[in-house]
């Protein structure tokens, strides 16, 4: 096993629990897709061709302009163990596609893990900026700056009519996917969430769970992102998403108010029960863990639970995932074993180390 820093530090920049509206917005992400002119896309590239695109793109990192962007670690996907790849996916630093299906795949990871640049994913180049809280414009500015550095030194596949050409027609044009991860427990509890999600879908945005495409929305976490990449400018796409997110934040806030006014005792009971269970459970599956963690996150936001921090909760979100659990305790586990170690990790993190005999 290698000694990559991303394995040792559980906290990525996006998990710090800070940033604007961080009581409701966990993180903001921009991903832009670019391809090199004249080389087949990674899916059809031969080994030699994908090695070629990897070397052309890696060469950019040697330039003085690139070093202005901060310190990056260059990682080849083939040198990583399965567990290390899974941890990168769980921390949202790479896509499952890069982890499992890439050939000559590469990663340029910024030291604070706020930027990850994926090489030979579905497209030759994917630049991702992931910031804590609602900072979607900031994330775009950074991604666009990195894009400019690459564009100055390699020839992109670009067409006057279609824009940036991508492997999948759902990304063509701007190649941008902007998404915001939101925690919406009060909208779920007051059963307003479906109405809101339907409205969001009607304005051309998509809603998904914590781990993107195809994942279930567990722990009241919802990822809102743009669908359209062609025919709208980047700023239109981002402003549109930002506007919708701001509205959802207002709805969530008023739903929280409503809960406090109408059923404060029951809400407090729910939050404190979950806190008790998380502090004392010996076996807990991932679904229950994410639901309970959502409860205490709400308790922390409403200042009912004073000693639980947003950072600790974001860490737990990632650390209780299968890959990370097995990494922390340094052994492969069955699903049942994971439930036991998950409970232990949560107890330890919430400061209840002593009272259970192992």
């Amino acid at each position: 096993m290698s000694n990559h820093s991303f394995m040792e530090q559980p906290v990525s920049d996006w998990m710090r629990g800070t940033g604007p509206d961080s009581d409701i917005v966990i993180s903001s992400r921009i991903r832009i897709a670019r391809n090199l002119n004249g080389l087949p896309f990674p899916l059809l590239a031969t080994n030699q061709q994908s090695a070629e695109s990897l070397s052309r793109l890696t060469k950019v990192t040697e330039s003085p302009d690139f070093s202005q962007l901060g310190h990056f670690q260059a990682i080849s996907l083939t040198e990583l163990t399965d567990m290390e790849r899974q941890v990168l996916v769980e921390k949202h630093l790479i896509s499952p596609n890069l982890a499992n299906e890439s050939r000559n795949g590469g990663l340029l990871l910024k030291d604070d893990e706020s930027v990850s640049i994926m090489l030979n994913e579905e497209d030759h180049l994917r630049i991702q900026c992931l910031y804590p809280g609602l900072q979607i414009h900031e994330a775009w500015n950074e991604a666009s700056r990195i894009d400019d550095v690459f564009e100055a030194q390699v020839d992109y596949a670009f067409d006057e009519k279609r824009g940036y050409l991508t492997s999948c027609p759902t990304n063509v044009g701007t190649g941008i996917r902007a998404s915001v991860m939101m925690h919406l427990p009060a909208l779920v509890l007051t059963q307003q969430i479906n109405r809101i999600l339907q409205a969001v879908a009607q304005v051309g945005l998509a809603v998904r769970g914590l781990y993107g495409e195809g994942s279930e929305a567990t722990g009241n976490l919802f990822q809102v992102s743009n669908q359209i990449t062609l025919g709208q400018s980047e700023s239109e796409i981002i402003d549109n998403l930002y506007g919708v997110v701001k509205q959802i934040i207002e709805h969530e806030k008023s739903a929280r108010e409503q809960l406090i006014q109408q059923s404060n005792t029951r809400l407090t009971d729910r939050i404190c029960r979950s806190y008790g269970i998380l502090k004392h459970a010996v076996v807990i599956d991932s679904k229950e863990a994410s639901q309970r963690l959502s409860d205490i996150r709400l308790g922390s936001d409403l200042e009912m639970l004073k000693d639980v921090t947003g950072t600790a909760l974001n860490e737990l979100l990632v650390m209780t995932q299968p890959g990370f659990l097995q990494h922390i305790y340094k052994k492969p586990m069955s699903a049942d074993e994971r439930d036991i170690y998950r409970a232990r990790l949560i107890r330890d993190t919430l400061g209840n180390k002593r009272d259970i005999a192992e």
């Binding site: 940036y164 941008i176 025919g231």
Partner: protein, 184 residues
């Protein structure tokens, strides 16, 4: 109800699959589901955007031009022959994968792309960021298009003074552009 997989725990997950109107039900317990990987985030998922896309394209084919072409005009359907010169991907391969093989595919399959892009994005023309290095010419071309539209409008509105100004501006940009092309 017991789990269909292990027969030991009670089934807590219930799937209903409907394919061509034929309904199949699964009842399994959570640990079996996890062992199968269906609940693990990031695990390859049975249904993805690419399936959806190829669905759209299939729809396009069975419903659209190919039948018309082969049926009404007696021409052999085009997508069998349509192939990207650069990477060798055929249109029917593209419609299965939902992904292009290279940048040249966009040109090779151009005649079939407008309806697809229209359906996915509601638009067919890019209006966002342009590469800086190769983009100056493109920026000017965009200006040119906008100016020509204005020119048409001012002629329709019989504002000939403005039209004359616009015409001069357009000429200047056109000259610049052809000058640059020669310099290259």
């Amino acid at each position: 109800m017991m789990c269909q997989q292990c027969g030991q725990k009670s089934a807590t997950l219930h799937f209903t699959k409907i394919i061509n109107g034929e309904k199949t039900e699964f009842h399994i317990c959570e640990s079996c589901a996890r062992d199968k990987g269906e609940l693990i985030p990031g695990a390859p998922n049975g249904f993805s955007i690419h399936n959806l896309l190829s669905g759209l394209l299939d729809f396009d084919m069975t419903n659209g031009s190919s039948q018309l072409q082969s049926g009404l005009y007696g021409i052999k359907s085009t997508q069998e022959v349509m192939r990207c010169d650069h990477c060798g991907l055929t249109f029917s391969q593209f419609s299965k994968m939902g992904r292009f093989g290279c940048d040249a595919c966009y040109k090779s399959f151009a005649s079939r792309l407008d309806p697809l892009l229209k359906r996915v994005h509601g638009n067919i023309v890019h209006v966002g960021k342009i590469p800086k290095r190769n983009g100056i010419v493109m920026q000017r071309k965009r200006e040119l298009i906008a100016l020509r539209e204005k020119l048409q409008l001012s002629i329709q509105q019989e504002q000939f003074e403005t039209a004359a100004q616009l015409r001069d501006e357009i000429r200047k940009i056109e000259q610049d552009l052809s000058g640059e092309a020669e310099a290259k």
